[in-house]
């Protein structure tokens, strides 16, 4: 048990916080505190009920960038895309303008195989799905774009507009209003920098 002893020394220098953490952990696992304990025979969850996990889609208020100066985010696809993807996005725009969102989506998916993390392409794909009336995917893909954009509010703004429209079209007025609030907050952030 040498390893155990070596580790056992560590908690001595641990701060209260960790101790508190540990205590709370142990409290949470009351049934597991004693070593070599024989557990009562139930099959269900042993532990105290957990607090519900945060919702998968974090409807968190958009926070201002943590410190000035504001990070400079790319505003157009060409700033982060290679020539191949730029050309495909152009083609997708042509398809959309010609009222062929299905073809546009196909071309954008092709672009994603080349640059799978290009959030501008994901964002455009969300808009193409919206035009195809594929509302669930429009919203998912817009969320994916925002996730990949890691704080780029220009892209996030476009995505929340897509989500707002998709929710509206599905008759989810409350959801659309929430998305609308995101849009407003992002617009304020971009124009004024007010947090």
């Amino acid at each position: 048990m040498a390893g155990s002893q070596a580790s056992a020394g560590a908690p001595v220098v641990r701060s209260k916080l960790i101790v508190i953490l540990l205590v709370s952990l142990l409290a949470a696992c009351q049934t597991t505190t004693g070593t070599h304990k024989v557990y009562p025979g139930t099959t269900g969850p042993e532990a105290e009920p957990l607090t519900p996990p945060p919702p998968a889609v974090e409807a968190k208020p958009i926070e201002p960038p943590p410190a000035p100066p504001k990070p400079v985010y790319p505003q157009s696809a060409s700033e982060i895309s290679g020539a191949a993807v730029t050309s495909l996005m152009k083609k997708a725009n042509e398809y959309r303008a010609a009222g062929q969102p299905d073809q546009a989506a196909g071309v954008l998916e092709r672009a994603l195989r080349i640059e799978p993390r290009n959030y501008f392409v994901w964002s455009a794909l969300g808009q193409a799905y919206l035009a195809q009336k594929n509302y669930a995917q429009a919203e998912s893909v817009a969320q994916k774009s925002t996730a990949l954009a890691r704080g780029n509010y220009y892209v996030a703004l476009e995505n929340w507009k897509t989500i707002q429209a998709a929710r509206m079209a599905r008759g989810d007025a409350a959801g659309a209003a929430l998305a609308g609030a995101q849009v407003a907050s992002l617009q304020a952030q971009i124009s004024g920098g007010t947090p």
Binding site: M1, G3, S4, Q5, S7, A8, A10, V13, R14, S15, L17, I18, L21, L22, L25, C29, T31, T32, K37, V38, Y39, P40, G41, T42, T43, G44, P45, E46, A47, L50, T51, P53, P54, P55, A56, V57, E58, K60, E63, G82, A83, A84, T86, Y95, D102, Q103, A105, G106, V107, E109, I114, P116, N134, Q137, S140, V141, Q143, K144, A147, R150
Partner: protein, 768 residues
């Protein structure tokens, strides 16, 4: 008597006339019936056309990560041949940093790729220039024609690729007529001359050496009749041949013949027509065949079994050269060409049918996914064009590594060769496209598909979902949380006491959460799982894409959950894509046989986890690779390639798993035995050996560790678990969900030494 005999005569004649009249009417009726049959058969949908299945096309663009050697390899796989003049489509000429090629035209879903001469420049592993060779114009992006990887034909069925006479090289049409039916353009369905000539030849030889059948008769025979050599059949054949000729032109009949004729057999699949024959034997389209290749196909008409070039190359060579001599006599090739051509090898593409039927496990998946949307008859009859996600380069690596590594492991472990089986899947991280699939080590054999149908215990592959469940509760758990490593006994109703132990049967004292995952320590995992509750852990697995019927029991923490490699790829794909689940897809688009878009399979995503906890679990799974059970991967991978993964070992070493991902690819490998006996392998000593080599081959992209807005990176002192600064000697950066990191400063930090209270640092900043 005279009267009597006269009246008998008259009676006989009357009966005869009547009989002839009735016979004539009946015969006329019979002819009409035959005529209808022929017209129905010929004018209607003549053939049930199997769906054609294509791999994903190889893209070419500036900035792409491919070198000249790999591009040439890809071109050879597509049946392109070296030709410095680029005289025809499907040719290339390659150097160390440069490749010129004449790309074939192809009708893609979203547009046409025209045939085009291209010039590609490379600098090492990168494409640096892509131009149209004739105009020297820069091109943004070009697609090579996709590889035909299989077709969906009925059981015991005919397979064919339909061709038009206008697409057929003239040498083939003329050569075929010259060899099989010299008088084709003169006769009216049957050729008395040919029958007479054949009869003489057969009499001389004492047995049948020549058939007197015209191409028309042969076509009729293939269309309608059995192979029995009876007199009535011969008569029928001749009648129908003449009827056919009266309705249709010679060219229509020749075209039908060229699509109908049997040219070979591949297991259950009958290879019909020159279109498929060209792919089946030479792995390229008909219009790219050279004279000696055309001669081989024409020669096969006489007897595809006896002259099978793969099975009886000597028969085939003799026949081909005989046909070449006919070509010369007909003036289709010069004498010099003839002399050169007969010295050339057969040049038949290797393996089961060259390109087609190479990937039985993957095509199996394609068929299953199509069955949801299409009826069997649509797939076997309508000639649909199915565009799939298969990436031949990735597939090649997965196949090679499984085929090479399993014997190596068997040798090291002194197992009997052939003891181990393996399966694997590679998918795209962000949308779950199946790029490669191997169902067993005999990769060309369409047998038990372990990648889809083998459901084995997943062992420690389950652990990330236990830890992810914990990390979704930042108020209780973070990556630095300490968990005890102490024995546990669990009594379940009606079951023996469950007392899990660590793989090394040792106890290691309290463990940081990430470390317990990295080293795959069982007891802290069970302890954590019990605190979270099996139902919550199972829910996490389901959010990741698990759709099996495992019960919410504590044994799932250690992977008493059965899943196929493909299901694991889906579950790990959800982690790899930042919490977005997508089901593995093998199909992108379906076209009709005329190239019209029919159906697209758009991507299907759903966010099932917040990005923050996914970022944390990925961070811990990166530790698996750097300090834990996956670290031997870096004997293959470059140290600056960040990947995340997890090993899986099951009870008694029955299953050896490894699953993990980089930024763009998810790879899952399983190694085990079909009889479910112990292999003595852990996930690290077995599957990881294959996994890391595949990841190296496919140049997996490094994970880009940019935390989402909900995560903050905090420097901490590993001894105390508190905030560190530059004064702390071995501070490490650990991601925390926002506001869940330690607030107090570690003893080593400047702040802790300067100040009295724990909140002094705040006063330092804001107070003065």
């Amino acid at each position: 008597m005279a009267v009597n005999s006269r009246s008998i005569k008259i009676g006989v004649i009357s009966v005869l006339v009547l009989a002839i009249s009735i016979g004539g009417v009946l015969f006329a009726g019979y002819l009409l019936k035959l005529d209808k049959e022929i017209r129905d058969r010929f004018a209607g949908a003549r053939w049930a056309l199997p769906a054609q299945v294509y791999a994903a096309p190889q893209e070419l663009y500036v900035g792409q990560g491919i070198n000249a050697h790999d591009l040439v390899h890809e071109l050879q796989r597509l049946g392109y041949r070296q030709d410095a003049t680029l005289g025809n489509t499907g040719t290339y000429v390659g150097g160390a940093q440069h490749v010129d090629l004449y790309v074939r035209g192809f009708d893609f879903w979203d547009g046409v790729q025209a045939p085009e001469r291209l010039s590609v420049d490379f600098s090492g592993d990168l494409v640096t220039a892509l131009k149209d060779l004739d105009s020297s114009k820069d091109l943004d992006i070009v697609r090579l024609d996709p590889m035909l990887i299989g077709s969906i034909y009925p059981k015991q069925g005919e397979d064919r690729v339909l061709i038009k006479l206008s697409d057929v090289p003239p040498m083939l049409a003329k050569g075929l007529v010259a060899v099989e039916d010299h008088g084709f353009y003169e006769h009216s369905g049957i050729s008395l001359k040919a029958i007479f000539r054949a009869s003489i030849a057969n009499l001389r030889a004492g047995h049948v050496v020549q058939g007197g059948s015209t191409l028309t008769q042969q076509l009729i025979k293939n269309f309608f009749l059995s192979n029995r050599q009876t007199f009535t059949r011969k008569i029928n054949e001749a009648l129908m041949a003449m009827l056919l000729e009266s309705h249709y032109s010679k060219d229509q009949i020749l075209e039908a013949y060229m699509n109908e004729v049997a040219l070979g057999q591949d297991g259950n699949r009958a290879v019909h027509g020159f279109g498929l024959g060209s792919h089946f034997y030479f792995n390229k389209p008909l219009n790219e065949l050279r004279p000696q290749e055309i001669a081989l196909l024409v020669g096969l008409v006489k007897g595809p079994t006896y002259y099978n070039p793969r099975r009886y190359p000597k028969h085939a060579l003799a026949r081909r050269n005989l046909v070449l001599s006919v070509f010369r006599d007909e003036g289709l090739i010069s004498d010099a060409e003839y002399k050169k051509d007969i010295t050339l090898p057969l040049g038949v593409a290797g393996g089961r049918g060259g390109g087609a039927e190479r990937y039985p496990a993957f095509v199996d998946l394609v068929k299953r996914q199509l069955e949801n949307d299409y009826k069997d008859e649509d797939l076997t009859n309508e000639g649909l064009r199915i565009f799939t996600t298969l990436d031949p380069r990735v597939q090649e690596s997965l196949e090679n590594r499984i085929v090479e590594e399993l014997p190596e492991i068997e040798k090291q472990r002194r197992m009997k060769p052939g003891t181990l089986e393996g399966a694997g899947v590679v998918t795209s991280a962000d949308r779950g496209e199946v790029l490669a699939l191997v169902g067993g080590r005999d990769v060309r054999f369409p047998g038990f598909n372990r990648a889809l149908d083998s459901r084995r215990s997943i062992g420690s592959l389950a652990k990330p979902f236990v830890y992810l469940t914990a990390l979704e509760h930042p108020e209780q758990y973070n990556l630095e949380t300490m968990i005890d490593d102490e024995p546990i006994e669990l009594r379940m109703p009606g079951a023996p006491v469950w007392s899990p132990h660590n793989y090394d049967r040792k106890l290691h004292g309290p463990q940081h959460l990430y470390n317990a995952l990295a080293h795959s320590i069982n007891l802290p995992t069970v302890r954590l799982g019990l605190a979270l509750g099996p139902a919550n852990v199972l829910k996490t697995m389901r959010q990741a894409g698990y759709d099996g019927d495992a019960k919410a029991l504590p044994s799932i923490f250690l992977g008493a959950v059965d899943a196929s490699p493909l299901q694991i790829a889906q579950m790990y794909g959800t982690l790899a894509s930042g919490g977005f689940q997508s089901s593995p897809s093998a199909i992108r688009e379906v076209q009709t046989k005329d190239g019209k878009p029919l159906q697209r399979f758009p991507l299907q995503l759903k966010q099932t986890f917040a990005e923050g906890p996914i970022y944390l679990i990925t961070w811990a799974m990166e530790k698996v690779m750097t300090i834990g059970t996956g670290r031997s991967a870096y004997t293959q991978l470059s140290p600056d390639t960040v990947v995340a993964g997890k090993s899986g070992t099951t009870d008694d070493y029955r299953d050896s798993w490894f699953a993990g991902f980089g930024a763009d690819r998810v790879t899952v490998v399983w190694v085990g035995r079909d009889d479910n006996q112990s292999t003595g392998l852990t996930g690290s000593t077995g599957a990881l050996q294959v996994w890391s080599r595949v990841m190296k081959d496919i140049h997996v992209r490094s994970i880009d560790n940019v935390p989402p807005p909900t995560v903050e990176e905090v420097q901490i002192d590993p001894d105390s678990g508190l905030r560190a600064d530059d004064n702390c000697y071995d501070a490490v950066t650990v991601p925390y969900l926002q506001n869940s990191g330690p607030q107090e400063w570690a003893p080593c930090s400047a702040q802790a030494n300067q100040t009295q209270g724990p909140m002094q640092w705040l006063k330092d900043i804001f107070g003065h």
